[in-house]
Subunit: 342 residues, 2 copies
Amino acid sequence: MKLKKYEKNPIIAPNPANAWENLVTCNPGVIYDDGRFYMLYRAAGDDKEHVIRLGLAVSENGFDFRRVGDSPVFGPSADGPDGGCVEDPRIVKFDNEFYITYAYRAHAPGQYWTFAHDVVRLPRCGAYAPAAMAQNLGNTGLAVTTDFRNFHRLGRLTSPVLDDRDVILFPEKIGGKFAMMHRPKQFVGEHYGVKYPSIWLKFSDDLLAWEDKPSHLLIAGREGTWEEKIGGSTPPILTEAGWLTLYHGVADGGTAEYRVGALLLDRENPLRVLARTPEPILEPEFFYETEGFYSHCVFPTGNVVVDGVLYVYYGGADKYVGVATCRLEELLNYLTEKCRCE
Amino acid sequence: MKLKKYEKNPIIAPNPANAWENLVTCNPGVIYDDGRFYMLYRAAGDDKEHVIRLGLAVSENGFDFRRVGDSPVFGPSADGPDGGCVEDPRIVKFDNEFYITYAYRAHAPGQYWTFAHDVVRLPRCGAYAPAAMAQNLGNTGLAVTTDFRNFHRLGRLTSPVLDDRDVILFPEKIGGKFAMMHRPKQFVGEHYGVKYPSIWLKFSDDLLAWEDKPSHLLIAGREGTWEEKIGGSTPPILTEAGWLTLYHGVADGGTAEYRVGALLLDRENPLRVLARTPEPILEPEFFYETEGFYSHCVFPTGNVVVDGVLYVYYGGADKYVGVATCRLEELLNYLTEKCRCE
């Protein structure tokens, strides 16, 4: 089972007309609301600091997106914790408000593809500066909007001493609690029972209050496979069969190809994994997935179901946006019939 | 033992020339550095929202302060968690950086003196909005500066589901850990062992990471006295006798007069209270303490020791700034000789 890539991919590519997005457009959060697909895509220009912002594009059919204006709609704060970059949005809707989880750093990361693996630019600061600043850790914040033009930052969701990204909210409460996936890089080793960064799950009564809540291991990577290091990708979709969610798996402990798998989680207890794809359902093949700032990478961050079709939006090679589709039913059947756990 | 009030108090009063500070100037954070006293004072104009910002004043002698410019130096963020007001700064120095804890709200509180006790303006928001937003809770953030002109917000220090203010950092590590006092309003009742909001203490390895750390009760109020509800006031001062710190006590469960007491805490284990003043060492008497937006209130937020003199800076009636002094030795002798605990 593979998702079907759109023949006209990429659907968003760097825009030479705008300095803030002339180098990179990737990893989009997407939501369908009131007949429209709204896409917040990660964008950067060819500046040395590699400041990262979010642009907005909309579509009526899920394939043809048009940019809304010539400016980013959401960027680093002027003097706040997320002052360096804002990345990889995931969008869910509660009541009439869209909540966006996004990774950020205190300082722009620099052109990371020119550095050694996982290295980022560090700021100058005092000897007692918090780790988030001194090490320029990747944290995750929450923002809220009703119109995708005006955003209000609500603050940090993750621990300030962890590098913790790929934070994804479930779009409904489960058993009266909010739920979220996260992927702390430091949660590895004997104490954590995993060898590489993995997907963890938390529950809370409040959309902003997660830091003091226990993390439960959802799934770990599989040694020697395409998915050694893993992380959550798209907001879970509630189906009759359970919560459907996509995740990314990276070979060689997190240093090689990025591919995509799917999970089916129990509706009432999402820690119970009902099904998991043994082989990737999406992997790098085409130029927009193999040639960029992280080559050989597909990285979904948004998914939408309209008229029984699952639309999966993903970054390609940290440079482009692509879309791939399947009948939702087909993927669910594949998961329940061929990929059952136990 | 009483602190001696400066005869020319108030030393800062509302400034009719500036709209942002024409109504209120109070509760100042003060630090002495390189021969100068730096004061960040809380300021507000006569706008209905009651937006609260910080102004800067400096002094060479600790009594005569001059404002630096006609603009606030630190205000609510444009679209961040502290978008409503920033209040009651406390300043400590680590290495070459000044760290400022400050209370904030998502929305400006409104003219609270015209409302019922402890009521604040609430924003319009969705049914799932976090408590910090929906209830417009008072949280505490951390900011850093090296010059008192440029500030970088590092984020929230307190739980987003608590009203938690009067957060004060110890200016040195203790036993290898950072330490802070805080005053969560909700920590009352049988489970907490206290009837009114009290002063709690936490330890951490990181200046930004407090939310998942246990809170230890430092001191509680005393029923039927001037100090039923209490909270920390000034950054602790390390002396041979122990940590000297001032706190405020409020009568009638937190609804009446604000007065000031002093504590002496063990150098190695600040949870061990060595001495506590039975009677206030500062209380409202003069017009600048009895007539304002919270009348009958003295509220210290800064203290400095220069040449053996303790300078205590305080808000008067939520409207003015005053200073009171004593010989440091005199207060320490009083504490160790007359106010010993046990």
